[in-house]
Symmetry: C2
DNA sequence: CGAATTTTGGAGTGAAAGCACCAAAAATGT
DNA sequence: ACATTTTTGGTGCTTTCACTCCAAAATTCG
């Protein structure tokens, strides 16, 4: 892609931006923002300090870019579950939790989720970073609620349910799965958590009522 | 209590150990280990650097002591819910989640939980601290499983259930509630999450079966 | 080919971090 | 009262942090 990209004049970069950004993402994901040093970054990214500064601005800007990069990627499997056609709302959410179990235990990426737990206990001077994470998390809960409302509109969810509470519940279970994933839980264990969680799904109770 | 305490000879402390330890705990709880500086600590604890070093050893040792202090306190309300006499296992866990909602939104302490999310993304050289947190979390899941097994022994839980999966589920929901609490969720919202979670409780399905 | 433009490597910088030391201060025990 | 023991305040230390600067290198445009 950098071949087809029209390059201005000047010395060309020797590194591939997407791939070094991914390396930065993995470092931040594993060690957190404060736990990742400048030296570690430029070492794993294989770039010099000046290249770092020149190409990514600062540690904080790189973190934001890495987080955006992560979210773009995460949206893929989230959308894939929630926007799937021809499935019930219940099936969509069951699929979402299965995907979370799978994604949180991938071999080629750090375990868990980069945004689920980040910035929850952070220095006051890093408030902007914390706020970014809080916003991302809040947005994903709204996303869940929207999918549930779609289910109500389409008739496969009872209109009497508390949409926000159910969305908050699913949100909480995913964050909890992220904690366990980082603590070493297997994919099977995470899948079990998701299965138990789906027992709380309103539709299941309709059978009982 | 320090009045009744037999003091050896030597100059007496001017500070109350439990209360400055509590200040340290609150700082670590809010800002995390890395996000809390030596200066902040001695400032909020109102002690000098040498007093700090002399009385608490190091930042890491203080953190461990503050964490133990937190766990002692947390065990109080956890035990209170899970060891309550004359209630079903289901009621005990419902009570536990209600207590979590209450405790995670206390006005006199930082929001959420000090150990639920700590050390999940941390620098490699702080691995001992991370390990401590992972152990605390694992221990609490075992604690939940033990309570469920007690329910099976006493006959108010079906013996066919997957105890570990159910314990992992409750564990996950509590950690997820901690994330939401730190992101600003109200007590009522956390209580709702707990209520929805309890819909997944096995006993509820027995009615349907 | 030469000028312009951009990237690169390496050394260096100020600030802050956590910690350590030392002598003075304030208690106890005989 | 005097020696002993322990705590205290202030200062200084070493390391690491994120970052910056500058000249050389490598490209494009005219």
């Amino acid at each position: 892609m950098s071949e087809t990209q029209k390059r201005g004049r000047g010395r060309p970069s020797t590194f591939d931006r997407p791939s070094v950004l991914r390396e930065a993402m993995k470092l931040f994901w594993d060690n957190g923002y404060e736990g990742t040093t400048f030296e570690e970054l430029i070492s794993k990214m294989s770039i010099s300090p000046s290249t770092f500064y020149n190409s990514f601005g600062s540690k904080e800007r790189l973190y934001r870019e890495a987080t955006e990069n992560f979210m773009d990627y995460a949206q893929t499997w989230i959308q894939s579950a929630l926007s799937e056609d021809g499935v019930t709302t219940r099936q969509a959410f069951a699929h979402l939790l299965e995907s979370a179990a799978e994604q949180f235990t991938r071999e080629d990426l750090p375990r868990g989720c980069m945004v689920s737990l980040s910035g929850t206990h952070q220095a006051p001077d890093l408030m902007p970073i914390r706020d970014m994470m809080v916003e991302y998390r809040a947005a994903s809960e709204i996303y869940l609620a929207d999918r549930i409302r779609k289910g109500i509109r389409e008739g496969d969810m009872p209109s009497t349910i508390d949409v926000d509470a159910l969305a908050a519940f699913i949100h909480a279970i995913v964050r909890g799965m992220a904690v366990q994933a980082r603590d070493g839980a297997s994919r099977a264990k995470l899948e079990n958590i998701g299965r138990v969680a789906m027992e709380a799904w309103p539709e299941a109770r309709r059978v009982a009522a």
